[in-house]
């Protein structure tokens, strides 16, 4: 599975890592819904670290689209809300 971390590029994540990453993802979601900045930061760090540790970088010269896309490592809670609302910075 290809996962993109915004600002970092794409990673090839093995299937067996996905369950763990889903748990970490759930923690991010909870913290976003609670609006808890500290919990969000910790959860996002854990998720991104989980992806980087489990995965190898995807080849630069490919044009594959990602299965999943994750926020920037330094994204704020507000930026993630923007990403989720679709009102954010994604340039057209």
């Amino acid at each position: 599975m290809i996962i993109r971390i915004l600002g970092e590029g794409q990673f090839d994540v093995p299937e067996e890592a996905v369950a763990t990453l889903n748990d970490l993802d759930a923690a991010v979601e909870t913290s976003v819904e609670a609006g808890d900045e500290a919990a969000f930061r910790a959860a996002l760090d854990a998720l991104l670290t989980g992806v980087r540790d489990a995965a190898a970088p995807h080849e630069d010269g490919s044009l594959d689209s990602s299965d999943l896309i994750l926020p920037h490592a330094d994204a704020t809670l507000d930026e993630v809300r923007d990403l989720l609302s679709g009102d954010g910075l994604i340039p057209g």
């Binding site: 915004l6 990453l21 010269g61 594959d64 989720l84 994604i90």
Partner: protein, 268 residues
């Protein structure tokens, strides 16, 4: 639905919309390629802008550090001529500078991080654009409407996502750069107003050094006397501790004018 899924869906649909304009797939391919080239130019400009800001902040830090060193020197000199009030003023200004220096260093690190990320994004986009160009030429050469449409959609969704990602990286870097420039500009204004002494004017005199210069030109003997007194000051402090009135009388400030007066009288 998970965060990752939701972001992916929204991001992809937005990013691809931009590439989905022309009627003829071949036109779409050329148009997209043109956009990618434009974006690459923008990224290069972005890297250059961030680098410029980073250097500007670096200069700003160097200036403030020189200024802090100078104030430290002034404080030492002021103490050596027995002017604790001047020394206190110099150290107060120095501590104001210290927090600005820390602040600027943090911003410098941020800019450096942005610059590195942007450089990586640029390399990545360059590789993607090259891959897109190759694929585009293949599709155009063997063009059949149906087949081309499928392949284009494949190629475009990957590149659209990449462009969205890199485009966001540039915007973030531009925002950060603008913040840094505003910050550096504010410090420029402070320096210009003389609230901080501008060390870019060597030999330029500020109020503290004017007073110190006046003092040292008064007479070397007086400075020597004051130094001797400074050497004997610890005893004076101990004595006033015995009296127990340190808190009541602000002895540091109170002691100063007194010793000044004594000096003057002694000289006269």
């Amino acid at each position: 639905m998970s965060i990752m899924k939701r972001i992916s869906l929204i991001f992809r649909s937005k990013a691809n919309k931009a590439l989905d304009r022309a009627e003829d797939p071949r036109e779409t391919l050329d148009y997209s390629y043109q956009r990618q080239q434009d974006l690459l130019v923008k990224v290069r400009r972005g890297v250059a802008d961030v680098a410029t800001s980073r250097k500007r902040v670096e200069l700003q830090v160097n200036q403030l550090e020189q200024q802090a060193t100078k104030l430290q020197g002034q404080a030492e000199k002021a103490i050596s001529v027995g002017r604790e009030d001047l020394a206190r003023e110099a150290l107060t200004r120095k501590s104001g500078l210290a927090s600005q220096i820390t602040d600027l260093k943090t911003q410098h690190a941020q800019l450096q991080g942005e610059e590195e990320k942007l450089t990586l994004a640029q390399q990545r986009l360059q590789a993607k654009v090259e891959a897109f160009r190759t694929r585009k030429e293949t599709i155009k050469a063997t063009y059949t409407a149906a087949e081309a449409q499928t392949k284009i959609n494949e190629a475009m969704s990957g590149i659209g996502e990449e462009m969205g990602d890199v485009g966001m990286a540039i915007q973030r870097a531009e925002d950060k750069t603008a913040q840094m420039q505003a910050r550096a500009g504010a410090i420029d204004e402070l320096l210009a107003s003389g609230a901080l002494d501008d060390v870019s004017q060597p030999g330029g005199s500020d109020d503290i050094s004017r007073e110190l210069d006046a003092l040292s030109s008064d007479s070397d003997v007086e400075a020597e006397l004051a130094r001797l007194k400074a050497g004997s000051q610890p005893q004076a402090i101990e004595a006033s501790e015995d009296g127990g009135d340190i808190l009541k009388a602000e002895p540091e400030k109170a002691a100063e004018p007194a010793s000044e007066t004594t000096t003057d009288e002694g000289r006269a």
